[in-house]
Chain length 403, copies 2
């Protein structure tokens, strides 16, 4: 791709502040201030007083699973987690589901809605091997100039139950996955100590961070979380472990929850939530007060698990707001934080934010305030990713990212 | 308004079934079937295989409160119900809030999204008197040819605490409100027996049905609900009482809940829910199994209470689906039912549905299935209300309803 041209965006309001101009050079924010001069040859874009948000951050999705853009999938799946896991594995065997095509479709849809950084979990199991990973690696490569994708090698069918999975996860990390995923060490693996020992062992050998999906409720989840924190401390994984879901934190007595949150904060373990309306969820404001970073993600979008979801992170912020009853403007800024700054911070995306020197990932919407952007989810007037204008009025522009 | 012209809509799929044509005459569905002939002078509309839904039904909103289309309201309100009530009353005193203009704005926005029947609660209190009601009565009159609006005279500030409220509610019913509203007889009125006796007394004298907002949780809510059911039985209000919210039904032990639901079913008391993500909610599927009609509503939209909400009932159906974890296609049909047939049935809107002879309230969307219509909330391709095309591609067409 050729070098990114300079771009001056006039009259935009960073997070709802007074209007400024913003200059992009070499893919980065070069200046931010009133009435900037356009350097020679610089493209000029009129912002029209739009609200400026930093590029949106998706913290937990499954690009490889989605059926975005395909025939409608008639969902007749049973209600248990294991029903969904087995149904999907069976479906993928016969459907010819193509993770390369599907992940690219959804990554592009995310980009059109302003998401320039995302973490996706990719199923690694003994039936599919690294097939899904290979597809998503192609998507990561195709999108790399404008969208940063972190790939988690994720044992969706469990780590211990199917011999060979641990080796496959290691191979996935060698092949290019960034992060090692884990899943319910009691409820799915049935042997929490051995499951977590194997998991942390792989992460240690490959020097990778962890993202563990913990659906286990109440006391069982708290028990597993305690085992995870023990290993985080003992093995030096401070700042390198994320807990996705963590439903148990919404079930526990206050004293037990506070003790776990204090340990998580001390070990810099982050929480990633889709804020599901039908489940217990970690208490967002209390987690933040305890010093635990909480960030947001969709989880699966339009797949065999769920018909819901949308590649619009502002909609996820709205659902976070609804789940946590965030009504005041200052509270809605927290919902936005979950899909912007806290997201980038918690996932380790560098070079992020609306400050000079940072990568120019920008989203313009017609909204008066951050709160309005969250509740109204306006069409993305302009999306800039790594300094390039990639989408306008909700649609991707022609370019390598849309090829 | 002149007589409605005949209209033939070709190739539409009622609730996802095989394509048919649909003939509208004199505001009603005249025929529904394959390859209908267009009568002379009949307008013909190509449906293009769109999914056909019946007109959407909003079961619980507050048209008089909304700030839709106004300056952004910065929400700094405290967290309790009473904080919201008092903040709003104070705000309305100084803001010049105009319930006529605002309710008309929002009613039109509902119509553009396909809602042709709705129930709205209108605040009646000793400070504003019947001022808000007068505004909403004007809106009801303006929209009558295409949108049926039920008005609930609602004591938002409580019935007992401010002497004169009971009389105002009676006057509101005389002035044109259809239904009498009630509110938390313990938590707000502080004297549940007297509160409910006064409330049912007004309803009896005026021969009106009731819609009681019951936010009270757990045992307190169950106690109030029991008192309501006692009076429903004793005073002959069978089939004439709605409980809005009913959060307590999500808190109770199973046996107690089942007993209440059995009484509600026997007395034909309906439940109206906004399916809030942050509260306990009545268990939807269990209520339906018990024979209790459950229907959906937004509650307030973009007002001093909440920045959330949208006049799109498909979005409310999605939120109902998310709250109740409805993922299968057959379950999503239930979410749709809450904002269509169950809504019309529970609120007593007659002449409803996709059958010959019924009022032609129709919504066309590009969706393959009902489930997709709920999760994707597509732009309304066409909205027909009482036989007239009132909106196309999400925008109201010119006409008396948009004047």
């Amino acid at each position: 791709m050729p070098a990114t041209p300079s771009l001056l965006i006039r009259r935009i309001r960073p997070l709802g502040a007074s209007p400024v101009d913003l200059l992009v050079q070499e893919g980065r924010i070069a200046a931010l201030g009133p009435a900037l001069d356009a350097p020679p040859g610089c493209a000029v874009e009129e912002g029209g007083g739009a609200l400026l948000l930093p590029g949106l951050v998706e913290g937990h999705t499954h690009l490889d699973k989605t059926m975005w853009g395909l025939d409608w999938y008639r969902n007749e799946v049973g209600p248990r987690l294991i029903d969904r896991i087995e149904n999907e594995r069976a479906f993928r065997k016969v459907s010819g589901h193509d993770a390369a095509i599907q992940s690219l479709r959804l990554a592009r849809a995310f980009l059109a809605e302003g998401t320039s950084r995302l973490r996706t979990h990719v199923d690694v199991d003994t039936e599919a091997g690294l097939r899904h990973l290979e597809g998503v690696l192609r998507t990561r490569e195709a999108m790399r100039p404008v969208q940063q994708i972190q790939i988690v090698a994720f044992p969706q069918s469990g780590l211990l139950g199917r011999p060979g999975t641990a080796e496959l996860l290691g191979q996935a990390l060698e092949a290019g996955a960034d992060v090692l995923g884990g899943l319910d060490p009691c409820a799915i693996d049935g042997d929490p100590v051995r499951s977590l020992d194997v998991l942390f062992g792989i992460a240690q050998r490959h020097g990778r961070p962890l993202d563990i999906h913990l659906h286990e409720p109440g006391a069982m989840g708290a028990f597993s979380l305690g085992l995870i924190l023990d290993r985080t401390a003992a093995l030096g994984f401070q700042g390198r472990v994320a807990i996705s879901h963590g439903f148990c934190l919404g079930d526990l007595p206050e004293a037990e929850r506070e003790a776990l949150l204090a340990r998580m904060a001390a070990l810099r373990v982050v929480l990633i939530t889709s804020a599901p309306a039908a489940r217990s969820v970690p208490p967002l404001l209390e987690c933040r007060r305890a010093g635990v970073t909480v960030l947001g993600g969709n989880d699966g979008i339009r797949d065999t698990w769920t018909p819901y979801g949308s590649p619009d992170m502002l909609e996820r912020a709205m659902l976070i707001g609804l789940r946590y009853n965030l009504r005041r403007d200052d509270e809605l800024a927290i919902a936005l934080d979950c899909i912007t700054a806290a997201g980038a911070d918690g996932l380790g995306f560098e070079d992020y934010g609306l400050a000079p020197g940072r990568r120019a990932d920008l989203v313009l919407v017609q909204a008066r305030t951050v709160a309005e952007a969250v509740v109204a989810r306006p069409v993305r007037q302009l999306v800039v990713a790594a300094g390039r204008i990639v989408a306008r009025d909700g649609a991707l522009l022609p370019g390598p990212w849309a090829a």
